[in-house]
Symmetry: C2
Amino acid sequence: MSQSTPCAKTARRIFAKILPAFDDGTIALVRQYRHPAVKYLLELPAGTLDDQERPEDGAARELEEELGMRAGRLEKLSEFFVSPGFCEEKMWLYLATDMTACEQKLEDDEFIEIVRVPIERALQMITDGEIEDAKTIIGLLLAAPRLGAATLALDYPAV
Amino acid sequence: MSQSTPCAKTARRIFAKILPAFDDGTIALVRQYRHPAVKYLLELPAGTLDDQERPEDGAARELEEELGMRAGRLEKLSEFFVSPGFCEEKMWLYLATDMTACEQKLEDDEFIEIVRVPIERALQMITDGEIEDAKTIIGLLLAAPRLGAATLALDYPAV
């Protein structure tokens, strides 16, 4: 692995993030303690891809393992560099629909709280500052038109 | 500085990113070579905040130094963690309008190509994959409704 960037642990790693959307108009987020942020954050589920794994396969695998859900349909929303000035970390982002339940397979030390909210509420959580993870913000903003959600409220506070 | 995260060089650093929007409907991006991405990327201008500097002051300073532009109005669009699973890096994001020209103050080793495009074209560059920087994607998506831009095209390719 290259040591050319200061972001050693994430260098060259590739991630998939998934927005699971349900027929009732809700989407699923996970609430996790994030040590670097020193707080609990609401994020879309995500995971690191295994060697040679295709991003869409990794997204489907993470969805099953973390949330116990299987997607009948996965659509790519975007791929992007998370912080290209410092890290090689790259992210693939998918919208998952046509969901069915399956067995959840969490690691022994993994604890995940799943939070389901209407997509409109999730968009409001961006403008309210309740959602603070860059990749989650991108996923929600890119998926909103496909999910028929109204555009962002414009009256959130300015400086 | 804490050594608790693997992202040492960015740990606890705070950044401001600015979307400069002009009266003619265009916005300004910068094209820079990004070593971790191994390519040139189109991004919104950004910079690191000085000690004790308020994010909006840092945004205004970077806009003057990098682009030679002064904003009559700065609106906060968002603040977020770039990659909270790994890094403490936090980003403040501003929309700059009511622009006037001033003297550009680049460092000796700094070379910046400024690219002005209509906001609608910039949104299309997200869905076309021409804009690949997470923070730039967020800035454009959050600013678009304020700038009166049409919503994203929905017909971009799925997997």
